[in-house]
């Protein structure tokens, strides 16, 4: 079919000089496939450009150019292609890639998944506009993150310390208490150098249910940070393709607040699994060759383009710290989404269904959890000089608990050697007292560390082989009953 054009002369002021150019409406499309439409005869289009598609009933949908072959282009329609026919659209090129309006006023606002206000407070008057894809941070301009964030949660503070400027995801599963944990972190997170004027939260919801978004909103309100939160909501019934924009918009806001307004920003993105699934849907409708489990081959690069936007840069005192939450399909940590995420992020907090089932909160599975930036942000001058030794020993001893339990499940606990029995007992104490903690309980780092040593002292001293004797002498009390 042929497409006819309707042109209007228009003039606009650009960069201070008057320019006259042609605005062309392209009528109709050539092909519709899932969220993609193909158009032909389009001139002067640039890669990744945003187009406005106007339907006959007057509604305008936005789309993004994802592929160009001469005059034939493929456009991804964010709000979906429902009700679009081959003839009923007028498409206009906007001349720029997807941009996000930014201003200090954005703090406290609620936006939809594509960054448009939905709280009825009107448009954001932009101080500047930024491409939502961002640009990579030059590795030489990065400041290596070293300041720890005290979350008040023993397992996290002691064993997988969160560092300002880090990206530390929560690997969870459906039905586990990852949302509570994220809320508790936001509420208790003390960032040194941050106070109420330069601390903020950017919350990006991708494909989560209304109640979950509401739970977060309410929790932010209760902890008094709501006025410092920017919320971007793409709920589970919102258009899927818009979901691929949500984290990018959120991070653009975060980068603006952190690097231009020097704020300390905590970005919570939930749920990354929905995001990756949206990406898969888009990729398969584009006819791309799939990688593992049908996810596109570029899933790693795509996730990296989000996660790598955390950090601190020279010339700014702000920081972007990311806590992405993802639900592992079937609790499988080798699934491509958690797997690739783990390769990009600086550690992970893994939640465990067995602990959850036993009623422990937070159900942090200690052994697979890790913080890569921890080693330089703890110890003397940051937390306490014994922190690293304690963490090493707790990990090592708890690993032996797991071995002892495996053995006990075969030969029965009674048959275990005395030392294995000690480990079983240590494991029980560790889980009920160290891992388990109230939702409102805020433990100081000293409390957590002392508790760790107290539990370790239930083991014979010869088993504490990861610690220098000098450190043991100070912190390990002689055998005493620990309950």
């Amino acid at each position: 079919m042929t497409i006819w054009q309707r042109s209007t002369k228009n003039s606009a002021r650009c960069c201070g000089k008057e320019e006259t150019y042609l605005i062309i409406d392209y009528v109709g499309v050539k092909e519709i496939n899932g969220s993609l439409v193909v158009m032909d005869g389009i001139k002067g289009v640039s890669n990744e450009e945003i187009v406005d598609i106007k339907l006959e009933n007057g509604t305008v949908r936005q789309g993004r150019v994802v592929q160009i072959d001469g005059e034939r282009i493929v456009v991804q329609v964010f709000e979906g292609t429902g009700r679009i026919s081959l003839k009923n659209t007028r498409t206009r090129l906007t001349g720029h890639p997807m941009e996000m309006p930014l201003s200090p006023e954005i703090i406290g606002r609620v936006l939809d998944g594509a960054g448009r206000p939905v709280d009825g407070l009107g448009d954001i008057f932009p101080v500047k506009k930024a491409n939502i894809n961002g640009t990579p941070i030059n590795p030489v301009s990065r400041i290596y993150p070293k300041n720890y964030i005290n979350t008040g949660i023993s397992t996290i503070d002691t064993l997988m310390t969160l560092i300002r400027g880090q990206k530390l995801p929560i690997f969870s599963g459906s039905g586990m208490s990852h949302n509570n944990l994220a809320v508790q972190i936001v509420r208790q997170a003390k960032i040194s150098g941050a106070d109420s004027t330069n601390f903020g939260v950017v919350f990006a919801a991708m494909g989560v249910q209304k109640d979950v978004a509401e739970y977060f909103r309410k929790s932010f309100e209760e902890s008094g940070v709501l006025s410092r939160v920017v919320m971007l909501l793409n709920l589970s019934n919102d258009p899927i393709i818009e979901r691929t924009l949500t984290p990018r918009c959120a991070l653009t806001v975060a980068e603006y607040l952190a690097f231009e307004l020097n704020m300390h920003i905590l970005v919570i993105m939930t749920d990354m699994t929905s995001y990756a699934e949206a990406l898969r849907e888009f990729s398969s409708s584009k006819g791309e060759i799939p990688g593992r489990k049908g996810y596109p081959g570029y899933l790693y690069s795509d996730l990296a383009s989000l996660y790598e936007r955390a950090g601190m840069i020279k010339g700014s005192t702000g920081s972007v710290t990311q806590i992405p939450i993802l639900t592992m399909p079937n609790d499988d940590i080798t699934h491509p989404i958690p797997d690739l995420t783990g390769y990009i992020t600086e550690g992970q907090i893994v939640l465990d269904r067995v602990l959850q089932g036993q009623g422990f909160y937070p159900p942090v599975s200690v052994l697979p959890s890790l913080s890569r930036l921890m080693k330089d942000g703890i110890g003397k001058g940051y937390t306490r000089e014994d922190h690293q030794s304690l963490a090493n020993q707790l990990f090592a001893s708890y690993a032996k608990v797991i071995d002892a339990r495996a053995l006990a499940s075969v030969i029965g606990e009674e048959e275990l050697s005395p030392i294995d029995k000690k480990y079983i007992e240590f494991g029980r104490l560790f889980e009920t007292r160290f891992v388990n903690q109230g939702f409102t309980e805020n433990r100081s780092i000293e409390q957590s560390l002392d508790l760790g040593w107290e539990l370790l002292s239930t083991l014979p001293r010869s088993e504490l082989d990861r610690v220098d004797d000098a450190v043991l002498d100070i912190y390990v009390k002689d055998k005493k009953e620990v309950r």
């Binding site: 002067g44 289009v45 640039s46 890669n47 990744e48 450009e49 592929q67 160009i68 072959d69 001469g70 890639p97 491409n131 894809n133 961002g134 990579p136 030059n138 590795p139 030489v140 301009s141 990065r142 400041i143 880090q166 060759i289 799939p290 990688g291 593992r292 570029y298 790693y300 690069s301 790598e308 020279k314 010339g315 080798t334 491509p336 797997d339 783990g342 390769y343 990009i344 600086e346 550690g347 992970q348 052994l367 697979p368 890790l370 930036l373 080693k375 330089d376 690293q388 090592a396 690993a399 032996k400 495996a406 053995l407 075969v410 275990l416 050697s417 294995d420 010869s462 082989d465 220098d468």
Partner: protein, 584 residues
């Protein structure tokens, strides 16, 4: 030539219609901003180009110009102590140009063209120069002398030489006349295509070990200078830490560290840490012998594909000067994924897991560029290639790990359960291997004595035996084992905790000289054989354990400083005395 314009765009892949002037693998400039790209496919209608920068905003009709040369890098003084992106653009200069975020189309010279170098000329008028021979030298850093070599494709008679003095990279310092009578100006730098291996005089067999100071690597699974190694492991198993340890402590002259699709914060850590750490051999900061190539995971994917080749070309250039170069690539899986991504955009037929069918041949080409050789400049040099592999889902049967295994000769398999127990380096002693024993054993025997090899074999045997015993223990517990088998388990525990485990953050333990490694093995084995004697007299093993000797050996790595190896004699004497008392 200038009427070539963009026809189509798909991610980092751009096509040009009806162009006939491009060569395969030619470097091109794309668009108004002169983005760097490379020709990767030519048909009579379409030329396919991969672009090394973000393609957002490119339009059909934008110009594409060829450079007439393949994708190449500039080689000359100023490479060491620098940090480049995947196509050898210095990131510090880019920072000055576009700030903390990397702008596009940055046109900066790879080497600082204003810096004055102290040049000493090594030739005089009338000398005959062959390709690869040295004509000038420059102190590039305090420990690295940069030897300026003739381009391998040139040769001729020197007809003009400038006096010694200060020159810039692009200044002409000599002129030669080749056999055809043509004059060539010689500067302090040369260009070389990244996908072509630089020539050597003669390949040598790898007979000298690369000493890393890491016990499990040096003794159980050694790598030769000029060898190839793979470090596969799931996330969190310590690939990057192992690579960092190697880069810090291995006894190569020059380190090329390629961060290929990895984390930005890791590169900034390397930058800060290496400038603070002092190399024990030269007493200079490690940056004085290090080149960093950082193409982090969010930087353009096509440049990530090129970064490995850029790195190995720099490595070969310094090898040609007669240096031993070690290149760490972290991680080759990201490079393979970049191949897959580009291949997918070209709609090529995928082989395993979406990877292109030419993945094995590309890996082979890359690892073949390692090796020890007599170089054209006269001396001997080597390129050691150590590649991290990040297998999907920690599954070693995936294509990148399997194919890497075929082309590397050392396999340091990192193990998740060891990492969970914080046993670092988490190299699994059962799955790992080294194929260099036969090449390297003569060196070990000559430098450390026959007994080094013997100790190593006995240590391996005990670990193997423990591994099979553990199968039984897992089923019925260790209590039922006879005492001599319990002893094997106890000794293996000392080997694991006291010997294989190494603390990268402990000042004495982060680097351990070979002599101490040998004495540690000796002490452990001495305790083992003495205890065996005791056990054979039917004295219960619990009596030996209660002496505390096993615990003491677990900590000898901390208790015996690297410069007090005489203390080992006390340990041996104590073992004899305490166990002797039991026998009496």
């Amino acid at each position: 030539m200038n009427n070539n314009v963009i026809f189509g765009i798909n991610g980092p892949v751009v096509t040009v219609k009806n162009a006939d002037c491009f060569e395969m693998l030619e470097m091109v400039h794309v668009g108004e901003q002169n983005l760097v790209g490379e020709v990767i496919g030519i048909t009579d209608k379409l030329t396919t180009i991969q672009v090394y920068e973000e393609t957002t905003g490119l339009k059909p009709g934008d110009p594409v110009t060829g450079t007439g040369a393949p994708m190449n890098v500039l080689l000359g003084p100023g490479i060491i102590d620098n940090i480049f992106d995947g196509i050898e653009r210095p990131l510090k200069a880019i920072e000055e140009q576009s700030g903390a975020f990397i702008g596009r189309g940055a046109s900066v010279s790879s080497l600082d063209s204003d810096h004055l170098w102290d040049v000493t000329m090594k030739v005089k008028v009338g000398d005959r120069l062959e390709g690869g021979q040295i004509y000038a030298s420059i102190p590039e850093t305090q420990i690295i002398e940069h030897r300026v070599m003739l381009h391998p494709d040139l040769s001729g008679k020197v007809i003009e030489v400038k006096p010694d003095g200060q020159y810039r990279v692009f200044d002409t310092v000599a002129v030669i006349e080749d056999d055809l009578g043509q004059r060539h100006d010689l500067q302090l730098c040369q260009r070389w295509p990244i996908r072509t291996a630089r020539p050597v005089k003669k390949r040598l067999s790898p007979t000298v070990p690369l000493i890393t100071g890491q016990r499990v690597m040096d003794t159980l699974f050694p790598i030769a200078k000029g060898g190839t190694a793979a470090i596969p492991g799931g996330f969190g198993t310590g690939k990057t830490m192992s690579q960092h340890q190697l880069a810090k402590w291995c006894d190569a002259d020059i380190i090329i560290y390629v961060g290929c699709g990895e984390r930005g914060n890791e590169m900034s850590q390397v930058l800060t840490e290496f400038s603070e750490l002092i190399d024990p051999k030269s007493n200079r900061p490690l940056t004085d012998r290090t080149v960093l190539i950082a193409n982090t995971s969010n930087m353009p994917v096509a440049a990530r594909e090129a970064s490995i080749y850029t790195g190995v070309t720099l490595a070969e250039y310094y090898r040609d000067m007669g240096y031993h170069v070690a290149m760490m690539a972290d991680s080759t899986s990201r490079w393979a994924e970049a191949l897959r991504e580009i291949s997918g955009r070209l709609e090529e037929m995928p082989a395993e897991e979406g990877f292109p069918a030419y993945l094995p041949s590309r890996l082979a080409e890359y690892y073949e560029r390692g090796g020890r050789a007599n170089v054209l400049s006269g001396g001997e040099g080597s390129v050691t290639l150590i590649g991290a592999v990040s297998p999907q889902g920690s599954d070693f049967s995936e294509p990148v790990t399997q194919n890497t295994k075929r082309f590397t000769r050392v396999f340091w398999a990192l193990d998740k359960s060891l990492a969970y127990a914080r046993h670092y380096p988490a190299i699994n002693w059962i799955n790992s291997y080294s194929e260099y024993f036969t090449d390297l054993d003569p060196w070990f025997i000559e430098n450390l004595g026959e007994e080094f090899v013997e100790y190593r074999n006995r240590i391996s045997a005990i670990l193997q035996e423990e591994s099979s015993l553990m199968e039984i223990v897992k089923l019925i517990g260790s209590d039922v084992l006879p005492d001599d088998q319990k002893l094997v388990i106890e000794t293996a525990r000392v080997i694991r905790v006291g010997f294989l485990q190494q603390n990268a953050f402990h000042p004495e333990d982060t680097y351990v000289p070979l002599e101490k490694q040998k004495l540690m093995m000796k002490t452990i084995l001495h305790l083992h054989s003495k205890s065996k004697e005791v056990v054979s007299r039917e004295i219960p093993i619990s009596k030996i354990i209660s002496l505390g000797l096993f615990d003491k050996l677990n900590k000898m790595k901390y208790d015996i400083p690297n410069n007090r190896l005489d203390l080992f004699d006390d340990y041996l004497a104590e073992i004899d005395e305490k166990l002797g008392a039991l026998l009496r």
